[in-house]
Structures are given as C-alpha cells and as structure tokens.
C-alpha cells in the first residue's frame, strides 16, 4: 500500500493555520515522508483530484463554497477540519450577528450588490459536510496537528481533551488571569493548546470552542464575584463563539 495522499484546501480564513504546517520546519520532512502531499496551494503548484485525506482550512461563507467542500468530501476518505474557522466557524461567524445586506454594504459599500461579492451566513465545515477529525485553535497547535496525523496513520482515535483550559493552565503554575481583572474563557474552553494565551499573560479567547459540557451557571457566579455584567462575558464569547452552541451531551 502506498503512502496516503493528502490534499490541503482553504476556504474563508487567513491561511495562518496552513502557515503553521509550513512552520513545522524539519518535521515537515517526517510529514512528507509519511504522506504523499498532492495539492497544497500555499506551498506548492501541483493540483490533484485524487486524494485519500483532505485537510480543509477556513469556514464556508458562499453558496459555491458549499458545493466545493461537498465535492472535496466526496473524493476524500478522511476529512480533517483545520483551525477554528473550519472547526467552529471562527471569527468569520461574527458576520452572523448582523443582517447580511448590512454586512455587505459595510464592507463593500456601493459595490455590495455585485454578483462576485455574494455571501451567505458563515458555517463551520461540519455544518456542511461530515468532518472526521478536528484540529482546533486559532491558529492550530502544531504538535496537536502532527499528533492527530500520526493517530490517523496508526488507526487510533486521537485523545482530544474534554476538559477546559484551566487544567493545563494550573499545571503550568500560572497565576489565574481573572485575578488581574481579565475575563478569561479558560473555564469553558476546550484544552489542548497547553494554555498558550494565559501562559503569556493574555486571557483565553476561546478559539478551541467550548467543552462538551460547559457550566453556564458557574460562569454567572464568577461574573457576580468580580462585579462584572453578564454582557462582558457574552461580548468576549462572541469573537469565537458567535452562533456556536456547546455540543451538550
């Protein structure tokens, strides 16, 4: 059996997650040793319609993108959603907080009705086609990405944490950024990033999406404790959490 063929595609995104793959540096040789990369616009000129694994970056924001991603799904045995835009819709979902015409006019002004600028409500890849694996984060964590790829090669289901960022943050010995007055989304956001932001003094922005079973009542409790308004929390949750419901069990 030959090496699995991989194709990398992008939709609406900043392509920063693909850049993280490029940034694997020497490990990229391991990757190209294990897989046959047949299409990757950001890094090579070849294209192919024959692949086993499709890695899809970005969110789905136009009707024609829906068709394109469905086509990719049909060809691929395995589809991996890469990065927050693909896994949860990401920042692109901010658009869904507004009326579509209003958004178009704000961005494109008088050209907004031109057909090539047509747009639709933002969807995560999984809202359009079946997703087999999710690489969370904005941007993705390189180690987690290669871990998931090795799991696929081994036929093993990757162990992605079902607990929140606080677990990793505490294990690192960080001071809780709530103590510094920051509205951190760590307690409801899926771990796996190694608490990257809080370890650098930033709050958690929630880019990995909510844990399966977030406790909204507890969140209200914290808001009260710190004399904040629930609006403060909701505003913070909008960036990555617009129109994205936790997958409650």
């Amino acid at each position: 059996m030959g090496k699995p063929r991989v194709a990398i595609f992008d939709f609406a995104c900043c392509e920063g997650c693909q850049l993280q793959i490029v940034n694997l540096e020497e490990e990229i040789l391991d990757l190209t040793g294990a897989f046959d990369v047949v299409e990757w616009r950001e890094a090579m000129s070849e294209q192919s319609d024959e692949y086993d694994i499709a890695i899809v970056e970005g969110s789905i924001t136009r009707p024609e993108d829906e068709e394109r991603v469905k086509n990719i799904r049909r060809r691929a045995k395995i589809l991996i959603a890469l990065g927050a835009c693909a896994t949860i819709g990401g920042i692109n979902k901010l658009k869904n907080n507004f009326e579509l015409g209003e958004v178009k006019e704000y961005v494109y002004g008088k050209d907004s009705e031109k057909p090539h600028l047509d747009t639709a409500k933002t969807k995560a890849v999984g809202e359009v086609v079946k997703v087999d694996y999710k690489v969370h984060g904005c941007p993705i964590d390189r180690d987690e990405f290669t871990y998931i790829l090795r799991c696929i090669l081994l036929g093993k289901e990757p162990e992605i944490p079902e607990w929140p960022v606080c677990v990793e943050c505490k294990a690192k010995g960080n001071v809780c950024v709530w103590e510094y007055g920051q509205v951190c989304l760590g307690p409801i956001t899926r771990a796996g990033c190694g608490a990257r932001c809080p370890s650098s003094g930033f709050r958690c922005y929630g880019c990995r999406g909510y844990i399966d079973n977030p406790n909204v009542e507890a969140a209200k409790e914290v808001i009260e404790k710190y004399n904040l308004d629930i609006k403060d929390l909701k505003a913070k949750m909008k960036l990555f959490g617009s129109g994205y419901e936790p997958t409650k069990k």
């Binding site: 036929g155 093993k156 289901e157």
Partner: protein, 278 residues
C-alpha cells in the same frame, strides 16, 4: 522514608506471544497467549493490563481457568483504541502484559460443596468462564452448576459449542436467553432476569456469581431478592475505567475501594456499603 530501592517499574509490560486467535462474533476476539518468560499464575476473576505500544493499555479479564496448562485466554470486545489495536494482532505477534491484577476474590474454596449459579450478561460470560472452567476441572468438589447466559441477539452469543458441551455434563445446566430472537432460536426470549424468575427451586443456599454490563446488576439483584437469596451468597464482577491496575491512578475508585486492587469481584454484602458500586 523506606529507602527501599527497586529497579523494576510496576508499569513495565512483559511480552507474551499470541498462540491462537479467532473471532467469536462480530465484535469479540478470542486470544490464547503465553508469556515469553515463565508462566502467568492467576486466580479466577483476575485481569491483566494488555499493552499495545503507541496505543495504550486496557484491563482485560482472564477467561481461562488456572487449571489450563497451555497459556491463558482473553476475550476482547472492540470498543476503543486499545481493543481495536488488539483486534489486529495475529498468531505469533507479541503483546505486552502486566499482571495478573486484582484479588480475584471468587471464593474458590469457601463455596466447595455448594450449588453454583452463574449469571452472565453478554461479555460478562468471559471472566466467569475462568471460574466455571475451574469448577468443572474440579467437578467433584462443587454441587449443581447452573449457567445463565443472556445476549441482545443470537449473533452476539459466545462460546456456543462450549456451552452446549457443558450442558451435557452431569450436574450442569446451561440456559440461554436473547433479547431479540430470530427464527429458529430455541432458547428463552427476554432479558437475563427472565431466567432467574423461572427458577422453580429453593436457591437460598446456592452461591450466585453475576457479571454483565452496569445496568444489569440492579435488575439481577431485584430478581434474586425475590428468590430470598442473601447478600452474602451473591458475588458481582465489576467494571470500571482503569489506567494503572495497581491502585495508584485513581480512576477505578468507588467510594473507599479500588476495583483494581480490591476486586474486581465483590461480595454483595460488602457492595451494599459502597453506594457508588451499582
């Protein structure tokens, strides 16, 4: 500080070789293994941690009787990463084994001379088989043996030919039931408790051994209560998440007991004081 220095790791698997493998049904794989160095000495009711490098470990009950002289047997249901990987093993392959673990706690000697009833739900037959075979190998020392075996479908039955062999033995009775029968099924229909309900003799002095999915125990215990069986005569074989198998990692704890080192077989009179058990 004890100052005791040990160079061995309790987490170090020893290698075993797959001597025989066969699928018992769609999801259950039978393996016969032998340790590469020495013999695995175990008691009925004990389990091993099976290790596949790169994937992980899973606690698996030993299904053979200690009286068997040709390695030991495991039956593995495909439910997760490790068991998936175990299913890929072929005859001659190596696999890591730690153990045996658990006290076993089947009262092998205490129940001599008594009538024994084994209540097995699905894959719950697997660990019980170790004790059943032990009893059959020492047939004269035990009374009447009754084996109840229930599965959801006919296709999920295990060790069917072995069960019918046992049924032919003097003083052994095997009764099977399935939830969803198909044409040609000659056994009972319904959940396992239907077999208990149909017992028409006094079983108050019999010893009962039950093993099955968590949901089964509640109903089995109610059915046994109807038959006036005392808690001290009932033994249950419990399942929990386990990582270390040696009482450290904490996952299998139920109240103040660790299933890995205190069980996995428990007398019901003890379980009554362990609210998290059932």
């Amino acid at each position: 500080m004890s100052g005791r220095r040990e160079d061995r790791s309790i987490y170090q698997p020893e290698l075993a070789t797959v001597r025989d493998r066969k699928m018992l049904n769609e999801t259950e794989l039978y393996l016969r293994l032998s340790m590469d160095s020495g013999v695995l000495e175990y008691k009925p009711g004990q389990f091993v941690e099976v290790s596949v490098a790169g994937i992980g470990e899973a606690p698996i009950s030993i299904s053979s009787s200690p009286t068997a002289d040709d390695g030991f047997e495991l039956v593995i249901r495909r439910v997760g990463n490790v068991t998936n990987a175990i299913h890929k093993l072929q005859t001659g392959d190596k696999v890591g084994i730690r153990g045996p673990y658990g006290k076993g706690l089947y009262p092998v000697d205490e129940v001599k001379g008594k009538d024994l009833i084994f209540i097995c739900g699905g894959i719950g037959l697997v660990p019980q088989r170790s004790f059943i075979k032990y009893v059959l190998a020492n047939r004269g020392e035990y009374g009447q043996v009754t084996i109840f075996f229930g599965t959801k479908t006919v296709a999920q039955r295990l060790f069917a030919s072995e069960l019918s062999e046992w049924d032919k033995l003097e003083g052994v009775e095997v009764k099977e039931t399935v939830d969803k029968p198909e044409e040609g099924w000659g056994g009972e229909v319904g959940v396992i408790t239907t077999l208990i309900d149909k017992i028409d003799k006094d079983i108050r002095d019999a010893m009962i051994f039950a093993c099955g999915p968590p949901v089964m125990y509640k109903f089995v215990l109610l059915a046994l209560e109807e038959k006036k069986v005392k808690a001290k005569n009932i033994y249950l074989n419990l399942e929990r998440k386990m990582k270390c198998g040696v009482g450290k990692c904490g996952h299998c704890q139920m109240n103040n007991y660790y299933v890995c080192i205190d069980g996995p077989v428990f007398c019901y009179s003890k379980l009554k004081d362990i609210p998290e058990a059932i």
